[in-house]
C-alpha cells in the first residue's frame, strides 16, 4: 500500500509499504477514505518530538471503512462499518479509561517502559507519533491497523460526509476539550492564541459553550478572517499589542479564560525578544519548546482565571513566570484529548446542524501529494489552513 513515511527532519515520502494485518484478536483493519495533516504532524516534520524512527508511517487524523476484524472485536465492529479513528488508542478497561481519561490509558502504549521512564508514568498509545507513545503506524496511508479496535473507534452515520466527521478524531474534540476545560460562564471573555485548525475549533467551541466574548490572536490574515467568521474579535500580534488590546476589551481586567492553541513552536520575531532567546536555546538543545504563548497568557489572564493548554508541548520549557501564576491564583488545565469522552455530544451537534467542522478544510489532495502538502501547510502558502488527503 501507499503511505506517508517519516525519513527524518523535513523528509516525508510517499512510500510503498507492506499492508497491515490483523495481529491481535481486538484489531481491525480499515481502508482509509480520508485523512488529514495536523499541526502536530509539523512538530514531527521539524523533528521536535523525540523518539521518531526513519520508516514510521505518520498521521493521526483518519477515517475509513472496516475491511477486516479480529475475533474479539466482532461484537463492536463488522466489515463495511464506517468509522472515524480517534488519535488516542484506548482499552476501555483500565482505571483511567473507566474515568474517561482515554488519552492516559494505562494499557495501550506498547512502549510503556520507555514512557514510564520519560514521563514518570505511561500515557496512551497514539497513532503515527513518537515511539514514546507506542510508535504505532499512522493513518496517512491506504490501510490502517487499529489496535483495541472494539473500543478505539467512532461509528459515524452515513448521512454525514467524511469532511463533516473526519475531525471528530482529533481537532474538533481537542478544541472542544480546551474550551470545556475553561469552565466557560456567560460573562466570560475567552482569549485563544493561535488560529490554526485547533484554534478555529476552540473558537467555535467557546461560542457554543456560551462565552460572552471570544478573542482570537494570530498574525496570518486568512486565519484571522476565518476566526472572525466564527464570531471572534481578532488581534493581529504583528500590528497590535496583545496585552493592550486584551485589556481594552476587558475593561482592564484581562480575559477570564485563556487557551493555548499554539504549543511548542510559537512564532519567532524581533518584536518578541523572548522568542529569539527561546529559538537560540532550542537550537543549542538547552530547551526543547518555545513557550512564549504560555508566558503571555499568564501575564494577561485575569486573576482567578483558567489557562487551558491544547497546543502540544514535547519536553522542557524555560522562564515560565510561576510567581505571577501562583499569586494570581491561576488554574492550569491541559492534556492530550480524551477524544471519545466528547464524541456523543459532538456527533449530536454536527447532526443537528449546530456546527459543520468542514469549514476549516482549505485543501484536498491525493495521498501521493502529501509530501508537497506538508510544505504548503508549513509555509502557510496558498491560503492553506487544513489539508485533507484522499488515499
Amino acid at each position: 500500500m501507499k503511505a506517508l513515511v517519516w525519513h527524518g527532519k523535513e523528509d516525508i515520502r510517499c512510500d510503498t509499504v507492506s499492508d497491515p494485518e490483523i495481529e491481535d484478536a481486538r484489531d481491525a483493519i480499515i481502508k482509509v477514505t480520508s485523512c488529514a495533516i495536523c499541526g502536530s504532524d509539523l512538530h514531527l516534520f521539524h523533528n521536535y518530538i523525540p523518539a521518531m524512527k526513519p520508516g514510521d508511517i505518520i498521521g493521526h487524523e483518519m477515517m475509513g471503512e472496516v475491511v477486516d476484524v479480529g475475533p474479539s472485536a466482532k461484537g463492536a465492529l463488522k466489515k463495511g462499518d464506517r468509522i472515524v479513528v480517534p488519535f488516542t488508542i484506548f482499552c476501555g478497561e483500565c482505571d483511567q479509561c473507566k474515568r474517561g481519561n482515554f488519552s492516559v490509558c494505562e494499557r495501550s502504549n506498547r512502549n510503556k517502559e520507555m514512557a514510564d521512564k520519560v514521563f514518570g508514568h505511561t500515557t496512551a498509545g497514539l497513532f503515527g507519533y513518537t515511539h514514546l507513545t507506542g510508535g504505532y503506524p499512522g493513518g496517512q496511508a491506504e490501510y490502517l491497523r487499529v489496535p483495541l479496535a472494539d473500543k478505539t473507534h467512532i461509528k459515524v452515520p452515513d448521512s454525514l460526509t467524511d469532511e463533516q466527521v473526519l475531525f471528530l478524531g482529533d481537532i474538533f474534540p481537542t478544541g472542544w476539550q480546551a474550551a470545556v476545560h475553561c469552565e466557560i460562564e456567560p460573562t466570560d471573555t475567552v482569549a485563544i492564541w493561535g488560529c490554526g485548525p485547533v484554534g478555529q475549533m476552540a473558537i467555535r467551541s467557546a461560542v457554543l459553550l456560551g462565552a460572552m466574548q471570544v478573542v482570537a490572536i494570530d498574525r496570518i490574515p486568512e486565519r484571522l478572517s476565518m476566526a472572525e467568521a466564527g464570531g471572534a474579535i481578532t488581534i493581529n500580534f504583528d500590528t497590535e499589542s496583545v496585552v493592550e488590546r486584551l485589556n481594552d476589551l476587558t475593561s482592564g481586567k484581562g480575559p477570564d479564560k485563556c487557551i493555548d492553541a499554539v504549543g511548542l513552536e510559537s512564532h519567532v520575531s524581533m518584536g518578541q525578544p523572548d522568542t529569539l532567546l527561546d529559538r537560540a536555546k532550542q537550537m543549542t538543545m538547552l530547551e526543547s519548546d518555545r513557550p512564549h504563548v504560555l508566558r503571555e497568557m499568564i501575564y494577561v489572564c485575569r486573576p482567578g482565571g483558567i489557562i487551558s493548554i491544547a497546543g502540544v508541548y514535547g519536553g522542557l520549557v524555560d522562564k515560565i513566570p510561576m510567581g505571577p501564576a501562583m499569586n494570581k491564583s491561576l488554574t492550569f488545565r491541559m492534556g492530550q484529548t480524551h477524544v471519545n469522552r466528547w464524541t456523543d455530544d459532538l456527533v449530536r451537534r454536527i447532526d443537528e446542524g449546530q456546527i459543520d467542522p468542514s469549514f476549516v478544510i482549505t485543501h484536498t489532495a491525493k495521498l501521493e501529494d502529501g509530501p508537497e502538502m506538508y510544505k504548503v501547510f508549513r509555509n502557510k502558502q496558498d491560503g492553506c489552513i487544513k489539508v485533507v488527503l484522499k488515499p
Partner: protein
Amino acid sequence: MSFIANATRYEDSPEIISTGPSSLSSTDRLARNLGWFSIGLGLAEMFAARSISRAIGMEGSENLIRAFGAREVASGMLTLSVERKAGLYSRVAGDALDLAVLSTAVKDDNPKRGNAAIALAMVAGVTLLDVAAALGTRQQRLRDEDDIRDYSDRSGFPKGVNAARTQAERDNREPEPEVKALPRPQTGGAEHRL
C-alpha cells in the same frame, strides 16, 4: 535510504518496499550540505587557526580566524535548523567578510599569495552556492499576496453565529443548584481609600 528505515523498524511495523519522492527539494539538500560544510570549516578555523594563517600568509591573524570559525559554526547550526533561510543569509554575509579579508592577503609582498588566491577563489565559489541556496529557500517559503485568502464566509455554523450564541444561551439556561454559602461578587459601590 529505505534500508535504514527497515533496519530500525519494529518486527511488526510495515516494511518499506519502495520509496517515493521526498519533501526535501534539491535546494533543501544543498542547504543542508552547506550547513554541515559550515560547521566543519568553522571547527577547522577554530582549532587549526595557526596552520591556516600560515598557509595563506596571514600570520598574526589567528584570533580573527578563530572568530570567523565561531561565526561559521553558528551559521551552520542556523542553516541546519528550521530557520534555514536566516542561516543561509548569515552565511552569505559571512562570505562577504571572508572575501574582504582574503583579498587583503592577495598582495605581491605575501609569499603565500598563491594559496590566498586559491582560498579566495574557493570562497567565491561557495558564495555562489550560498546565494543560490538562499534565493531558492526564499522562493520556496515565500508568502505573497496570492496566499492571502478571505475566509470570512466560513463561520462553521450552518445556521449562523447568532443562532449558535442563542443555542448556547438556551443550553446554559438549564437550572443549576444555587450555592448560598458563597458571597456574591461586589461590583460598583463606593470607592474606598486603602
